[in-house]
């Protein structure tokens, strides 16, 4: 049934419908609403789960390592500094091959203290072995939680479902909340591939010598690789039941596009509108939304972007000393193409600054007019006076 729901509420509904058994989380704006809804569900019996109230994010994820090792479906949620505090255990979770799902609300890292949208928190965790799925709207976030559990449990790797602070987490919009019976069809009860069993004792995550460590890591790498195909199959299953499909990437009006803009998260939605307007003006422009960031679907991206002349990548994040992170990844994926399009990297919307339609149009025209790459990363919308001070 379609309801007008806040993005955070959509996540909580999905977690409820996924019949999660253990939730452990620590509040941090802008993620707090998610766990508030969930703690209500657990308190009133709507969701039969244990909600662990822990003293930090580190403990939240660490307690789920224990719970997931016991073979139950688990959920946590965090943001920004909280996610950073989990960092150590994020590696542990993937190394231990635990299918934990986390909702990650993209928020800037401090200082300056900032609670608004910025992707650097989740992108800083790109090497932790977690699968990362970036979402555009409330429906997608709800659906992606279901996909995440299927995928995590298929390949035994943890999954982050990632959404922009406020622009998605706190925005009310119509979301189709499916019936439990449909969700159960898509996402049956979790059948763990291993679990702690009091009658058959097992030591999990013990010492691994150089004799085996590489093989263990290679096995993880293969699982990551296979998750692309797995996700495709799971999504097919999903669309058969629910009639919705997202894909690891989504090309939008790309067929004859000379310039393709690459986005992730909520910027995608605004870009769709801008690109439609530009198309109406006769511009040959397309949009590529990247949903699956880890594993990075390089091959699919190469195919989608290869025919274009220019690519404009919009990053709501910045890796200091390197550039926008999506831009880096796309460049790395494209670099061996014999006829590689020119790739422009744009930095926009850090710390929750609005990425407006005007700004996106500006990016398009700049890209179109530029013959050569002037800068590795072009910072968009810097305030003139501050910028001037910086340059003086």
């Amino acid at each position: 049934m379609k309801k007008v729901l806040e993005g955070s509420h959509a996540v909580a509904e999905a977690v409820r419908l996924s019949r999660v058994t253990v939730i452990s989380a620590y509040p941090i704006t802008p993620q707090t609403h998610i766990i508030e809804y969930l703690s209500d569900y657990v308190a009133d019996g709507t969701l039969k789960a244990s909600f662990l109230k822990v003293e930090s994010e580190h403990s939240a994820i660490a307690s789920l390592v224990g719970a997931a090792s016991c073979g139950v479906r688990t959920f946590t949620s965090s943001s920004s500094q909280g996610l950073a505090l989990m960092h150590e255990i994020l590696h542990w979770t993937s190394g231990a091959r635990l299918p934990i799902v986390m909702a990650e609300v993209n928020r800037a890292l401090a200082p300056g203290w900032n609670i608004w949208a910025d992707q650097l928190d989740s992108l800083s965790q790109r090497d932790t072995g977690w699968i990362q799925l970036y979402c555009e709207h409330g429906q997608e976030v709800l659906d992606t939680v279901f996909l995440a559990y299927r995928l995590a449990e298929a390949v035994s790797l943890p999954v982050m479902v990632i959404m922009d602070a406020f622009f998605l987490s706190h925005t009310y919009e119509p979301v189709d909340v499916p019936e439990q019976e449909l969700v159960d069809r898509f996402l049956p009860a979790f059948k763990p591939k291993f679990q702690v069993d009091a009658d058959n004792l097992v030591a999990l995550s013990p010492l691994v010598t150089p004799n085996f460590y590489m093989e263990m890591r290679h096995n993880m790498a293969k699982a990551m690789e296979e998750s692309i195909l797995q996700l495709a199959e799971i999504e097919e299953d999903f669309s058969n039941i629910f009639g919705r499909y997202y894909g690891p990437i989504e090309p939008f009006l790309c067929d004859d596009a000379e310039i393709i803009m690459v986005t992730s998260g909520t910027v995608t939605g605004t870009s769709r509108q801008v690109i439609q307007e530009l198309r109406e003006k006769g511009e040959k422009v397309g949009l590529l939304k990247i949903k699956l960031f880890r594993p990075f679907p390089s091959e699919i991206i190469r195919k989608a972007l290869g025919p274009a002349k220019k690519i404009a990548i919009i990053d709501r994040n910045f890796s200091f000393g390197a550039g926008g992170i999506f831009a880096q990844e796309v460049r790395a994926a494209m670099c061996n193409l014999s006829d590689c399009p020119q790739i422009f990297g744009y930095i926009a919307g850090l710390g929750g600054r609005d990425v407006t339609t005007d700004l996106l149009e500006d990016i398009y025209w700049r890209t179109k007019k530029s013959e050569v790459l002037s800068e590795e990363s072009i910072w968009m919308g810097l305030q003139e006076e501050n910028h001037a001070v910086e340059r003086s």
Binding site: K2, V4, P30, I115, W116, H137, A165, F166, F167, L168, H170, T171, Y172, E173, P174, T266, V267, G269, T270, R272, Q273, G352, D354, V355, T356, T357
Partner: protein, 192 residues
Amino acid sequence: MLEIRFHGRGGQGTVIATVMLAKAFFKVGYQVQSFPVFGVERRGAPVEAYIRADKKDIFIRTNVYTPDHVVVQDRTLLQSIDATRGLKQGGWILINSPEPPSDLRPFAGFKLAFIDANAIALNHQLGARTQPIVNTSMIGAFARLFKTPHMTAVAEAIREEVPVEAEANIGAAEDAYNEVQLVGMIEGKNVS
């Protein structure tokens, strides 16, 4: 696409007002979006929240810069904010006030409506004398502007969002719907 901006103070239920109104629009067949301007949320501080409503899918996810209409939940805000900022010419500006502003010049080029939502709220025993809960009265009054969304949808939305004292809130909305004063277009040159 319809874009509406609500002005209020922290604690007046401004965000809930936009959620209820968005739900009411949704019930009458609109795609909707509602979201607050996110900041440090303190009681009494000026807050803004937005609604987008359209018969087509809404893709845009930016703040609202050029609203079609504006709702002001607390007339004292008019001293400190520019309620007509970005407001499209001919757009409605609905103010919670027992009487029209004495100086109409800032509203020139817009349509003015006012409603004594404080009195209605207190009449329905919503909130305290110092802090009447006016949000349901304001959306009731707004519904009257275009008779959309209709009062049945507004009442349903209130019942969903405000389970406590729902009937009193619906009563307040209905009263506001009936009592709102539509001054209409303010002629003259905008001097704000």
